[in-house]
């Protein structure tokens, strides 16, 4: 087990290092980053100033080395547009985004667990097909379109929820639904498939044979086993939800990391963008690491492979 964890941890560190290089190199995609930031038609004086402020006049290896060294020490640099420390700027926003991601995940599970279980119990019936329909619509609907429909219904027509902002819990309702609904189909399919497999297992037949009520068989015996792969998927989905928060937070002007990322990109405030790309990647790496280790702990067969 220890050997597996060490190996897996080593891989995570290596991936994080590669991602940090990519996040740093992102700026160089345009050829000359100073020109890209100053904008087309900028005066040479301005371009030179940008080059000096960002340190683009130094060799690229030195730039990367300096940047990584500072990031590891916790100094995330200065935001050009917001004129504050990137670290403090990001920390408060990260809480908002984490909340959003957790609420979305909760919403996704609340609709996908019952629907997945129902679809499995009544396999190939109209209930199964209805659940499949919900999943298919969820996958086909662009989440920003769904978000606008929610705004139209809940804010404009019924005046129940605020359109945008992030002050109260009401501000989180629509973003969580819009983001979570998109993650639900994957869970539903996984739960349905898992439940169908588990329900045909011998111990379920035994449980039924000894006369346990259906609800007890389904929830105590079957669901408990079918839910294990869902935990692994939840870790991965949480990472995707953090990434997907860019679109949703921007629509609802929810003051989180995704909205900040969008603003920083629009304002060409790339020190902020780089750190957010790196941060979201590292969170994803940590989540998959945790999920892999948990799986290896639950299932000894994985450790050997």
């Amino acid at each position: 087990m220890l050997a597996y964890i060490t190996k897996r941890l080593g891989l995570a560190v290596l991936v994080a290092l590669t991602v940090s290089i990519l996040a740093f190199m992102l700026l160089y995609l345009s050829g000359d980053p100073a020109l890209a930031i100053a904008g087309e038609g900028a005066r040479q004086v301005d371009i030179d100033m940008v080059r000096k402020t960002y340190g683009f006049d130094q060799p690229i290896i030195v730039q990367f080395g300096n940047w990584l060294l500072k990031v590891v020490q916790g100094d995330l640099g200065q935001s050009i547009y917001f004129k504050t420390e990137v670290g403090t700027l990001i920390f408060t926003k990260l809480q908002t985004t984490m909340l959003l991601a957790v609420y979305s995940l909760a919403f996704a599970l609340i609709i996908s667990v019952p629907l997945g279980v129902l679809a499995a119990i009544y396999k190939n019936s109209w209930i199964d097909r209805l659940c499949l329909g919900v999943a298919v619509v969820g996958q086909a609907m662009p989440n920003f379109f769904f978000a606008l429909i929610l705004i139209m219904l809940f804010s404009i027509t019924w005046r129940m929820l605020p359109v945008s902002g992030s002050g109260t819990w009401q501000h989180f309702v629509m973003p969580s639904i819009a983001l979570g609904y998109y993650a639900a189909p994957a869970f539903m399919r996984l739960i349905r498939a898992g439940m169908i497999e588990v329900l045909s297992a011998d111990y379920i037949r035994t449980a039924r044979a000894k006369g346990l009520p259906t609800s007890s068989v389904v929830f105590k015996h079957a669901l408990r086993n079918a839910i294990v792969p869902v935990v692994a998927l939840a870790a991965v989905q949480l990472g995707f939800l953090l990434g997907g928060s860019v679109v949703i937070e921007t629509i609802f002007a929810l003051d989180g990391l995704g909205y900040l990322a969008y603003q920083s990109i629009i304002q060409k405030d790339f020190p902020v963008t780089q750190v957010i790309v790196l941060l979201l990647s590292v969170i994803y790496i940590l989540l998959t690491l945790a999920s892999d280790v948990a799986n290896a702990w639950l299932d000894p067969r994985i450790r050997v492979a």
Partner: protein, 275 residues
Amino acid sequence: MKKNTALYVGCGLLLFIVFCAIFAPLISPHDPYVQDLTNRTVPPFWYEKGSWVHPLGTDQLGRDYLSRLIYGARISLLIGLSVAVISGLIGTTMGMLAGYFGGRIDMIVSFMVTTRLSLPVILVALATVALVGGSLWVVIMVLGLLKWDRFAVVMRSATQQVRSMEYVSAAQSAGASTLRIMLTEVLPNVLPHLIVIATLEAASAILLEAALSFLGLGVQPPLPSWGLMISEAKSYMFFSFWLIAIPGTALALLIFSINLAGDGLHQLLTPGERA
């Protein structure tokens, strides 16, 4: 259970959209770029103020909405197809190499896939478009270079399965070159998986382009990208929600048809693998 309803419905709907896209100049009632500022935000025909001159109304600049919708199908389909081809080429090559040779190559490919998966796609794509400048081709290239991960993962495991088959060993002992075995023995046998992944990835690329254009960092005006149309109509959503609902529904229908066709193909091409 009726067997391939999904395939027929999906393909039928998809063919209809492809047909509209190909014959856009013939079936569009108006030029999608011509503005008529005296006829702005005319509602579709089912509203009281609507008329059959503009069946789906006009947008905030007086352009015929049906024509823009039809031309928009071209953009979405082009994005889906090109991104699937580019990322498919990259991912399939990587996955087949990893699955066939295993060992160090497999390790490198798996590492690249893990790294790619940890990058937030939307964010990286947004930042790239902001730096390089938005255009249809930039969006296609960015998404094509980002979305190869699922191709690589699936092609890797499919190739691993095929590799241990007897016909591969037979070809090896007959003295066929590795390249020849890859192209004539392995590729045809992993093709069903490839096609299914390609449909899924095309759908996901279309959604991503719409999201990028919606955020203003994708396809640029005046091109009638559906995502862009929704974005431009946002400030009119209070009085003219149909400006958002029409391209949004079109997008959802397109994705729905591709997914349905993909599911149907999955059942048709890889029978017995999953219910």
